[in-house]
Amino acid sequence: MHYQITHKTHYTYSNTANLSYNEARLTPRDFARHPYKHYTPSGVLSAWGHLQQVHGSRFVVEPQPTSYREREDFFGNTVCYFAIQRPHQTLTVTVTSQVEVKRHSTAARESSESEAWEAVREQLQTSLHPEILETRQYVLDSPMIPTRLPELREYATPSFAHGRTLQEAVRDLTARLHTDFTYDPGWTTVATPLAEVLAHRRGVCQDFAHLGIGCLRAMGLAARYVSGYIETMPPLGQERLAGADASHAWFSVYVPDVARVPHTPTENYLQSRPSGNSLERTSTASCGEWLDFDPTNNQEPGEQHITVAWGRDYSDVTLLKGVVFGSGTHELSVSVDCRRETC
């Protein structure tokens, strides 16, 4: 499915700003199904396993910035840095992207039913596969998600019955979040703590995503935050989804591929590790994948969800942030248009 997305952010300052520094994560990212799937003869996915491909993205800042640079951050997201060094009263950032989404919700699910969630947790804790070692950071606390909050584990537990597969459990959790929590824009802010969201059972997509991640991490599983968009105009006869006309957020859970994880449980790093130069590098082939869940809409994202960036939580993927000198107070307006292209 092809999309044309226009995301416009507009600031009006009460005073003239002289100088501003900004950082944006507004450029959608390319990503693929892991290469090993290439050899799976299910054949639903394209040859290179692209799940999302960006065919073009234009980043326009008004007034014209003095410095502009793109780079990739720790998580592989595209970051645009720009500075404006002249007096200005408004700032407009417009990003226009052409994105092709190849993910089919159902196909992705069928091919990879996992084993029991406890086994997945065990694997995360013990495997020395490089991918899993790297993934362990998504089990830990992050700036906006204090995983040790006892209420999180309490809330999550009913979904994680003994022996349930990971995907079943997460599906259940996603559905419960959707039912138990009220989508209520205006009730929370960017800074509302998770504990408060839990207590009042209401929030926006960012809070829903954080809750899901918090629950998974409390159970010892790896989860990350995804920021993106959802299709604005639904196909005929379907309901318009929440979060359209704005940026959206959901979460991803890591599902290891049982067959591919070399099971070498060892806890003690001090025990004779082979020395670096002679170490036979563990296979760098992927051994698992990240599956998306959208608790705001109780969906498993497929063709209608467009991914921009991911990280541990919202603070890692803030869409646009800045430091401005002399601006006084500011007013903000955001518009997102995300439409299907027929080609």
């Binding site: 952010t9 002289n18 100088l19 501003s20 520094y21 900004n22 950082e23 003095t66 410095s67 640079r69 951050d73 720790f74 998580f75 840095y81 500075a83 060094q85 020395l128 490089p130 070692l133 790297e134 362990r136 950071q137 830990l140 606390d141 040790r148 802010t189 960017v190 926006v204 997509c205 960012q206 920021s227 704005a246 940026s247 957020a249 806890e267 003690n268 790093y269 001090l270 590790r273 020395s275 670096g276 130069n277 170490l279 563990t282 919202y314 890692d316 803030t318 869409l319 646009l320 942030k321 800045g322 430091v323 401005v324 000198f325 002399g326 601006s327 006084g328 500011h330 903000l332 955001v334």
Partner: protein, 884 residues
């Protein structure tokens, strides 16, 4: 020189050996060897001490205290006992033999190289994690691992490909009971202490000049020269003569003294975050006239506060956009943000295997081992720690705000241990258990006697092209109390100089060999001053000038009032009306109230109450003490700009403030008795008089030093403009609050005399006119005399000169705002006529009042214009964050 038995040394009494250890094992003291003999490398010092005598040593100790106090060596303490705590230095050094130090230095270098490799990997490929050498949580759960810094190891490095990332490194060492030196902790992000070590050495050398020459101690200056040299080498884009700044969080930081001290010793500019700005991807210093490029930042601000755009958004201590400037390779930050991930006891148990994995060591053993550490993220280790909680030291892998780590299991109650156990079980990967090292004691001078105290050593290293240069010595800290193991400055620990002996018979390959390029001498000149004065520093200097002048004026007036009160010690209602008016007028001059209704004319407030309040009351913002405090804190904010002598004067003034405040307490406690007799009051007044006399001398010294010892750069200009504006305003206030009103001859004469005295012009007047006080003549001398350095005209002329030499863009024929203001003030004054000004109309001299009011207004405007144009470019930043 060899002595077989240390009983010869009477300075070491028998008690020392008895108290020195719990076990009676003499090897636990630095001074003794295994069989209780004084180590060869201690003998020269002990012999010298023997010659000198302990009594003399105690005298030198007092001398040392005085010197450090006068030099303003402080450590800021927050919390219950706030304030600047004087730096404590024990005159007995910790001594290392050349041979042992060489081993320690090699071990330190190995550790620094290893940590550098870890740092490069963690912000680069992360093979240590991916290949299972280091558990991910040790890095990923550590608050010092900044994902924003990912890739800095690979970013542009200004043309130098093989640069290290860990540039400045410090390690805390202690000797365990096995005689081996152990690493207790690593300091990597902005290690403090090198400056204190240098100051310790400098102070000790002044008090005991002969000792160093006789014994042969390695110099510390070598280390700093090498560091300067290396900094020069690593300038971005290979720039020659780079501009280096020291970035400090400001005077409230606990080690601010050191930031200022190092900046002025190394000849670098001391700056705060607000002084810097990123422009076109480069860092610039906002100086009075222009932006100056900054090439290297020696950072003393914690890394998360360095950039409000990418790191902590609430930070006002850093520079927005700094991370991007670093990535572009346009600035080198020492140490780079993200380095604090190495301040991580969770790393310690893995260092030996990491060293082997990198191929740094053949087997898994380091030359300088870490104190035994168990990381609770591993099951077996966790079990061990939980089972041995009561005899271990528990630390978190990163420093947690508001938490009391490290915790000593041995000192905790059962309930506390239980709470700790639960905390560890909840987040095991955040905790380590460490063996409690019973480190060695070393002799300290306590009440004139040698006593053993536990001590640790912080050593310092700086990266070179190859390897590291090690400071030959370091900062030794010893515990305040016998048997105590906590040595931090916060906990009242005492510092010591650290000696590495240079002249030993055994062959010795020096680690600190000459660098290939040769060394440059340290910059002792004023290069730093002239090329890097920030707007903030200039503004502080301006206010030091204003406050110093204000204090001087206030002190003079208060002395005159005191004189009157003392020569006729009467109760208020016994004084006659004219004398009361006289006194009230003088009080008004101090407070600056120019209206006719003086606040002092309240019946219930006695004159001496008012005097106490105006002199001593810190709550009263127009009191002398308040002015002095403001002056000292403005001066402290530009600590690096003052010569040692100037700073001594400042310190004396600060101490005097404390003394004056004590007077206030005394006068208040005597308040009940006040009604009964004036004897007590007179006594206290006498004390204040004495203190004011001393203060005048200090202030005069300060004026003299400012005038004669500062190079006349823009900084001096700011200071002197402050002085001139304030002196002019004081004089105007003096005239307006007293002689603008018309009084009878007796009163007018007394007022004129007082004003002449307050303006330091009484002697001039008498010498010149030898006559009665004549109103127009007094005005002539005070307002319009070109030759009188106290006259108003003189102040305005000087101001005009200064304003002319300020840097500014040419505006064609148009005068700048401040030029216009001073021109108008001068013209108004010069066009006036004293005879006309002296004319009375009713109760008021209208002409005089009008002129003085206008001049005061112009001067206030001038001060504001200067501030706006030259000083405060500092606009507060705003955060922009979009909502989802």
């Amino acid at each position: 020189m060899q002595r077989s038995n240390n009983t010869h040394y009477t300075v070491i009494d028998e008690n020392y050996r008895l108290t020195e250890s719990r076990t009676g094992d003499a090897s636990e003291d630095e001074m003794f060897d295994g069989i209780g003999q004084v180590h060869a490398h201690w003998q020269a010092f002990i012999a010298a001490l023997q010659t000198l005598g302990l009594e003399e040593m105690e005298t030198r100790h007092q001398e040392l205290r005085r010197l450090l106090r006068e030099n303003g060596v402080t450590y800021v303490v927050h919390g219950e006992e706030q304030g600047h705590r004087p730096w404590e230095l024990d005159p007995i050094p910790l001594i290392f033999s050349s041979a042992e130090w060489e081993k320690i230095a090699t071990g330190l270098t190995q550790r620094a190289e290893l940590l550098n490799r870890v740092l490069m990997d963690v912000y680069g490929e992360r093979r240590l994690i991916k290949e299972g050498v280091l558990p991910p949580e040790v890095v990923y759960a550590h608050a010092g691992f900044l994902r924003e810094c990912d890739g800095i190891a690979a970013e542009k490095t200004g043309g130098i490909a093989t640069r290290k990332l860990l540039l400045l490194y410090a390690a805390d060492l202690a000797r365990g009971s096995d005689g081996q030196m152990w690493v207790l902790s690593d300091r990597t992000q902005a290690p403090s202490g090198a400056g204190y070590a240098l100051e310790n050495r400098t102070a000790l050398a002044r008090v005991m000049p002969n000792l160093f020459g006789d014994i042969g101690v390695h110099r510390l200056s070598f280390f700093f020269r090498a560091m300067q040299n290396e900094l020069e080498e690593m300038a971005p884009h290979g720039k020659a003569n780079p501009h280096v700044v020291v970035l400090t969080p400001g005077p409230l930081n606990e080690t601010y003294f050191e930031h200022a001290y190092l900046a002025s010793y190394l000849g670098y500019t001391l700056v705060q975050g607000g002084d810097l700005r990123v422009w076109d991807g480069r860092v610039w210093l906002k100086s009075l006239d222009r932006l100056l490029p900054v090439d290297i930042i020696l950072r003393r601000v914690d890394d998360v506060f360095c950039d409000a755009l990418e790191l902590r958004q609430d930070s006002r201590l850093g520079v927005a956009g700094l991370m991007e400037a670093i990535r572009l390779g346009n600035v080198v930050v020492v140490n780079a943000p993200g380095t604090s991930v190495l301040e991580n006891p969770g790393l310690m148990p893995f260092l030996p295997s990491i060293a082997k994995w990198f191929g740094i060591t053949a087997d898994s053993s380091l030359l300088l081992p870490s104190v035994a550490t168990w990381w609770c993220g591993q099951r077996e280790e966790r079990v061990y720690v939980l089972e041995n909680l009561e005899r271990l030291v528990i630390k978190t892998i990163h420093r947690k705000p508001m938490a009391a780590y490290p915790l000593f299991g041995a000192e905790m109650s059962k309930a506390e241990l239980e709470t700790l156990r639960k905390q560890i079980c909840a987040e095991p990967h955040l905790y380590v258990g460490q063996e409690q090292v019973h480190f060695s004691t070393t002799p300290s001078l306590i009440d004139g006697k040698l006593e053993p105290r536990h001590a640790t050593l912080r050593s310092f290293l700086f990266a070179q092209q190859e390897g590291y240069v090690v400071m030959p010595g370091g900062l030794t800290r010893s515990a305040a109390k016998k048997g105590a193991l906590i040595v931090s400055s916060r906990a009242g620990g005492v510092s010591k100089d650290t000696w590495v002996l240079a002249d030993e018979p055994e062959p010795h390959v020096s680690l600190w060999r000459q660098p290939k390029n040769g060394l440059r001498p340290l910059a002792y000149d004023n290069v730093g001053n002239s090329r890097g004065l920030s707007s903030r520093a200039a503004e502080n200097l301006f206010w030091v000038g204003r406050y110093a002048e204000r204090a001087e004026g206030q002190a003079r007036l208060l002395r005159i009032i005191l004189d009157t009160l003392q020569t006729s010690p009467l109760a208020e209602d016994a004084r006659d009306g004219s004398e009361l008016t006289y006194l009230h007028n003088l009080f008004r001059s101090v407070t600056g109230f120019s209206g006719t209704a003086a606040p002092t004319e309240k019946r219930n407030a006695t004159l001496s109450d008012e005097l106490f309040s105006l002199t001593l009351d810190t709550q009263n913002s127009s009191s002398l003490v308040s002015t002095l405090q403001s002056m000292v804190s403005a001066a402290y904010a530009v600590r690096d700009r003052w010569s040692t002598d100037t700073w001594r004067v400042m310190n004396n003034i600060e101490n005097l403030c404390t003394a004056l405040e004590r007077e206030l307490t005394a006068s208040q406690s005597g308040g009940h008795a006040r009604g009964q007799g004036t004897a007590l009051e007179a006594h206290t007044l006498q004390d204040i008089q004495t203190e004011l006399d001393r203060l005048m001398i200090f202030l005069a010294a300060l004026t003299g030093l400012n005038a004669e010892s500062m190079t006349q750069t823009i900084g001096w200009l700011s200071l002197d403009m402050g002085r001139r504006i304030e002196r002019a305003l004081l004089l105007i206030r003096l005239c307006r609050s007293s002689i603008v009103g018309a009084y009878d001859d007796w009163l007018e004469n007394r007022l004129l005399e007082a004003i002449l005295a307050a303006a330091e012009s009484l002697i001039t007047y008498r010498g010149r006119y030898r006559a009665e006080l004549h109103f127009p003549t007094v005005l002539e001398l005070l307002l319009l005399d070109r030759g009188n350095p106290r006259s108003l005209l003189y102040q305005l002329k000087r101001l005009q000169q200064h304003i002319c030499s300020l840097p500014r863009e040419k505006l064609g024929y148009r005068l700048s705002e401040e030029e216009q203001l001073i021109l108008e003030a001068l013209t108004q004054l010069q066009l006036s006529n004293t005879r006309h000004l002296a004319e009375r109309s009713g109760q008021l001299r209208q002409g005089l009042e009008k002129l003085l009011a206008r001049l005061a207004q112009l001067l206030h405007e001038l001060s504001e214009t200067l501030t706006r144009t030259y000083f405060s470019h500092v606009q507060g930043p705003q955060q922009l964050v979009t909502v989802n």
